[in-house]
Amino acid sequence: MNRTEQIQETARDLLEREKVNCVIGYEPGSRGHARPAFIYKAEDVERLTWDETCTHNLVRYLLKREDEYLAIVVKPCDARAINVMLAENKLFREHIYIMGVKCEGVKVHGNLQDRCQRCTQRTPVIYDKLIDGEPATISYDTPVGEIAYKQIESLSPKEKMEFWLEQFDQCIRCYACRQACPICSCPTCLYERDDSHWVGIGIGVSEKRAFHLGRAFHLAGRCVGCNECQRVCPVDLPISMLNQKIHQEMQNLFNYTPGLSQTISPLTTVLSPEEVLP
């Protein structure tokens, strides 16, 4: 059976036996690119698909549905996001059924994503059912993003600031990066609070700088590198480079990769019992 058939069969079984009330997977979209699909009935499982355009990180859709029993289709990068969310008590393990797909990379407009070019993990770290299949024949070149990343790293601090301000200037503050992120899960975002004294409501470069740098730091030790933030950006800002930079610092300091197991970021402060206020 190919991966699509395995996903459909597993979904049918789960829905027929009422193990889950919804299966979150992918279906063919209207313009040749897969899109998220939500399947509630066994007779609808044939809508489900798997192909190299299944780019979205569906873990985002598990959030705020803690009371439900859900099945989800995940790639290896998405699976790491599940581990981070489990470690942070944002999900209940017993409420989710994970279909982990062995993945050789996903493409947008025919281009293999940068994250896939440097991915070293083809099997999800966490799953209830492994969806396996014939390995795709994909050629891995030096990622374009990797070259750009090295170029920016070689700049002076002043030049880096100029580069990023020029990028942030293009941002339209649409929050797609935040909304697509499986880890950005604050009930009310700091940058969207009505009473915020940290950042104004304006769509100006200073607000956008505060937002992007703040977001990158809030994801330190939590970002799994799925690069959804960059894929969804309408103005194609290389924002995941900020996360990549912080990830490298985390590697150097703590030898830590988020989501490989259910542990919280070493940068997260945990109060010991005697420190907790009564």
């Binding site: 899109r35 929050y175 969207e192 104004g200 304006g202 769509i203």
Partner: protein
């Protein structure tokens, strides 16, 4: 017809740059944006549809409406309106159509919006006819076309060795007068064709309000704001007073108006925390009803120009054409 070579058009643009601000499509990170230019050389003449419509120059992402100072209990208010002349080159007909839609609300209906009017009055629009279309384009379904002149001051149509120049308004005639065009017998190329997307008539929408399609389509919506921000007609905004400076008992504030989007979670949140459009499906439905029912019944025109930006940029493939097709099927 009036014909101008690329060299002469470039020279004309450079001459304008010495007089006023000139905005044109330039390439950025692999896509196009309308930005102020310093030289005609910055223009990529093969530009397609820029990511943001020219709306951003009339209904700004952030606009200072007024400033006010407060000192010893006295409050003084200054209205801030911009007057400097400006030319936008390379306006796509769908975007010019979008401005006509915005005019219906900001100019033709009470109360008149002084900031929008100031930007409209100070800006000349030099359009560019589309000789090719993108797969997501469907402007002909909304009553305009890739060579429409509606809302423009002047239309430029690219042909093999140059451009056809067609003034539309008196202001456009003024612009054309300073261009080095020659009279030449040329036939205008036929505009490219596009699929026709059916959609329910204005009166038919009431029956569609409770369809499961809203919930089904919205389930994948991320509640980001791309669709509204890239739309040539979306015009919702939020207003806030922010402190600019405080010194010696004197405080200076600005009142700013910024873009808002019905897709965002807090869009309809009101004092006390109540939110009448809390569910994603309610907000997505609002988007469609606003464009095809609420806005036309209140102001006249449909609030969609068929530019296709929301289709191309939606991260989860919420496709206005697909939904309109589905709705039209229910109606017939």
């Amino acid at each position: 017809m009036k014909f101008i070579t690329k060299t002469d058009l470039s020279a004309w643009i450079d001459a304008q740059i010495t007089n006023c601000e000139v905005v044109a499509p330039i390439e950025h990170n692999g896509h196009y944006l309308y930005e102020p230019i310093q030289s005609s050389r910055e223009i990529d003449w093969s530009f397609t549809r820029p990511i943001l419509p020219v709306k951003e120059y009339f209904f700004n992402p952030t606009e200072q409406i007024l400033t006010f100072t407060k000192q010893w209990g006295n409050v003084t208010i200054h209205e801030t309106l911009q007057e400097d002349q400006r030319i936008i080159i390379g306006v796509r007909p769908c975007d010019a159509h979008g401005l006509k839609v915005l005019d219906a609300m900001f100019l033709d209906a009470d109360p008149l919006d002084p900031n929008y009017k100031a930007h409209r009055d100070r800006t000349l629009l030099v359009g560019f006819a589309c000789i090719e279309t993108l797969p997501t384009c469907f402007c002909t379904s909304l009553g305009e076309g890739p060579d429409s002149t509606d809302g423009l001051d002047l239309l430029i149509t690219p042909i093999n060795d140059g451009f056809i120049v067609e003034p539309v308004t008196a202001r456009g005639e003024g612009l054309a007068a300073s261009m080095g065009w020659v009279d030449r017998e040329i036939e205008k190329p036929a505009p490219p064709e596009m699929p026709i997307i059916p959609f329910p008539e204005q009166g038919a929408w009431e029956a569609l309000f409770h369809l499961p399609i809203w919930e089904q389509t919205a389930e994948r919506c991320l509640s980001c704001r791309i669709c509204a921000y890239v739309c040539p007609t979306c015009r919702c905004f939020d207003i806030r007073d922010e402190l600019i400076a405080a010194k010696d008992g004197k405080q200076e504030f600005e009142r700013i108006r910024v873009w808002d989007s019905c897709a965002s979670e807090a869009y309809r949140k009101i004092a006390g925390g109540h939110n009448p459009r809390k569910a994603k499906a309610e907000r997505l439905r609002n988007r469609f009803y606003c464009k095809f029912d609420y806005f036309p019944s209140q102001y006249g025109p449909l609030a969609c120009t068929g530019c296709g930006r929301c289709i191309e940029l939606c991260p989860v493939n919420i496709d206005i054409c697909e939904t309109l097709n589905q709705l039209a099927e229910v109606v017939t």
